[in-house]
Symmetry: D2
Subunit: 288 residues, 4 copies
């Protein structure tokens, strides 16, 4: 764990020679020390370039604002970069959404309490009141926002207001069984993570464990992905799999799958919090 | 490895009390010795019952024919069984079909030569002539049967005649890139095994590695299944998976996947040869 | 889930012809209905035979006691069987032991509360008081029994008395960091399950994650095993593995490993509770 | 696949600020284009720094020799680097050693023929003559160099002479069952790869599948490592694992394990050929 300030730079831009030299030279010149650097090019000729750098700033010669301003001018503009810098000292604020299944939610709260998720968790929003006691025990606010066909717009407005008030950076759907409308999705582009209980793109839609049972697959999976307006179609962050057999009933698949869901969602959230995930089109680059 | 004759009994029937007792009592009474027995019920009440028994016949009091006749009358009829007995001494005869990719074919031929596939392999049929030398080196006949839109019926008739002459029990499509028509499929029900190069039901159809690349999945797979008239929809025998990342190009996925294909197809074929696979509707029971 | 009484028969005996017929015939004759049967022989000639049968008793013509008496005389004695029948209606009583790490303990308590571990959990015994509040929240008694070199005998006597009072059938060491002396181990032969945080037999002894880090392995593991007098040497019930890389620090290995530990221990405990584990010498037969 | 010359730079040095900037700046200034860069630090303060860069040299302003000379002076010396540059155009020359098991050898020869191992394979050396025909079929020279206790020194001298003549860069022990003496090992430091048929450090020494069977493990493995003077103790490059059960005999473990061995050894060799493996002490950094 670093005693000195830690920051993470994420860059996406058209690939061309000299990007690594420009970025690393800039950081070096201003007293930042690169401790990890990952880089990926879809194609050296005419492709897209992705970079993640972790750096410490023991001897920074500028304020963070001034550093970012200089980076924008000197490095980002010439290379037409899409970029951002995250500072570990400013923890991301995460809202969890859940319906009735507690497994994915509790996994995240447990890991968070153990210090394994580097975030603030100011609130949980649910369309049911069932999990209030479990959540409040962790010292997290629980908001019951029921959703019906008629009240959906209102419920989403209320939810967005709660997120706004809490300064939410990331929304995690820990088995939240309502479809979010564009008014929510568009507010948090690539900042809403969902866990789908199948190995996407197999078994989109409802009741994937029953679908898997009926198709007779020998391996099941779980998929964490960013939510977009196309249900179950957003960029995949992580997937996990487990073997099953003819002996497994639908409820066996469910039990095995829930263990996968917990694991896969936790990994995806941790990677997002550590700024390891970049999105390109409908795919992700994960520097894990 | 048994010195005494080994046989395998497969049974499917409506579940009801007393089936195991009836089967094992019958075998016991006629001097057969059960060395392995697996059993599965989809539901004890009104479900389907599956059984596989391996038995040796050191002291059989009947000929095999008489044993089967007695079993039919005394056990199978009262329980309305669908059943068969395979004798290890009568090796199954396997035809391999292939187009141009050699990896799955060579894996099978190599395992066969090592004695790891308990079968006869009288012939390979291909719509190309490319792999002739490779195949003939194993002492296996190679038949080049070109297929075009106009000659498909004729080519299939020729293929069926070859199978007939060779007394084929099982057909394995080791990356055979032509769709078999019902006239072939119906002749070998649940006796044609195909390897599909994706984790079915994801990515049916053509070029699944490219589809997987474009969807940005983090795990790829391969699926061995029985061929039915619905392309890529037959009962799944086995599936294998491997992790991939954003660093993998389509050709990396292909290379990783081909290793899966070899492994998954070889398992499925071995299990079929050892009479470990029962089909129920569009699913399999695999006593592996 | 069965509405009718469910029982599980476990048998170990010298292999010889006729065992399956004798067992299944006996159950059939007394109105029991076999719903699952698994069988394993180490060698048909002179080997050991293992059998697990699940049966329901909708029409039993005897009391359980009389059934067991008859089985002992008619079936078990002639075949020299080591055997027992477990009744699902009589839930096993499980004591958990823990030191300071909470992950394995909480996983078991949480699965138990969800109904995924079919057992009673009357108490937790710990050599520290740290986890009292967590445990009591589940309605489970927490006993703090400190252990020092001088007080070990006394502490173990106290622990055994607690187990006795609670009618304990199974002890689970959910990261309990004290070595149990023979006076405890011998009281619960093959009824104490431990989770060791490595892929045994690699990295026995202390601090296995550091050992794994220093050896530079690319895969780590966790092992659930029955406790015997030889530390880390008892029969292995289940093992799980996960990939790691040079990027992982000791604490990364620990975090990844703890997820494995939870999963592997839960599986081993569930299989024990469902009477799926037989011990032969220093190995297990797991009918999972 | 690159049309322009591709090179790979590997660097190990004490960690300090500015290394990435120095390396990438140097390459940029001389017209080389970085297409992939991976970097790892064991500890930003006082640790060791590892870097791998792939670069193309479409516009190099120097000869390769001059580039290396300038790099040595301008970059390597100030940072006390241990470094080398590999050129893809100069394929590494690989000698394979084998005894009687053909599976690992054939896998490598197959992959090589398919173009999946970017190397020259001038010769196979074996202490038996059994696999001559298999090897020569691939157009590779086969040298039978018998080894007995009395002739070991002589046999190793002969082997080294063969390697010398063939200009060997890498030696792969594809199940070669003789222990190499320091006179061979020291000639090819971190350039001899062995496949050990267990999950090291479990089951060192002879007959690991039998050891695994007797310990009753539920997962087996295979390990590719560099050969050092301590048998089975060299730096691990890659490991693979597979589940097994009580149903598996020693020969089942062997069959399952041989599939692992093929896969794990092939990965390790490919990574070495692509200059993805750095050695630090007794561990590896694998930029895969």
């Amino acid at each position: 764990m670093p005693d000195v300030p830690l920051a993470r730079l994420l860059v996406t831009c058209p690939d061309q020679p000299g990007i690594v030299a420009a970025v690393s030279g800039f950081l070096r010149n201003h007293g930042a020390n690169i401790t990890a650097l990952d880089q990926h090019s879809t194609d050296p000729a005419g492709g897209t370039f992705f970079l993640r750098a972790e750096f410490t700033t023991p001897d920074l010669d500028l304020t963070a604002d001034a550093l970012e301003g200089a980076f924008a001018r000197v490095v980002a503009a010439p290379f037409a970069m899409d970029w951002r810098i995250d500072y570990a000292a400013r923890k991301k604020r995460v809202a969890l959404m859940v319906s009735k299944y507690d497994h994915a939610l509790l996994e995240l709260l447990w890991l968070w309490r153990r210090g394994e998720l580097d975030a603030e968790v100011p609130l949980v929003v649910s369309n049911h009141d069932d999990l209030r006691a479990e959540v409040e025990r962790f010292g997290v606010d629980y908001h019951h926002v029921p959703v019906s066909k008629d009240t959906k717009a209102e419920a989403e407005a209320q939810t967005l207001a709660l997120f706004e008030d809490a300064g939410v950076d990331l929304v995690v759907l820990a088995r939240y069984m309502q479809i979010l409308s564009p008014r929510v999705v568009d507010r948090y582009p690539h900042r809403i993570i969902n866990i789908h209980h199948s190995f996407l793109p197999a078994f989109v839609g409802a009741d994937p464990y029953r679908q898997a049972f009926e198709r007779g697959v020998k391996v099941i999976g779980a998929t964490a992905h960013y939510v977009t307006e196309d249900l179950d179609e957003g960029p995949i962050i992580e997937q996990g799999v487990a073997r099953v057999s003819h002996r497994d009933s639908v409820s066996d698949l469910k039990r095995t799958g829930q263990s996968l869901e917990r694991d896969v969602l936790a990994k995806a959230v941790r990677w997002h919090l550590e700024a390891r995930v970049l999105v390109q089109g409908n795919k992700t680059v994960v520097f894990a």
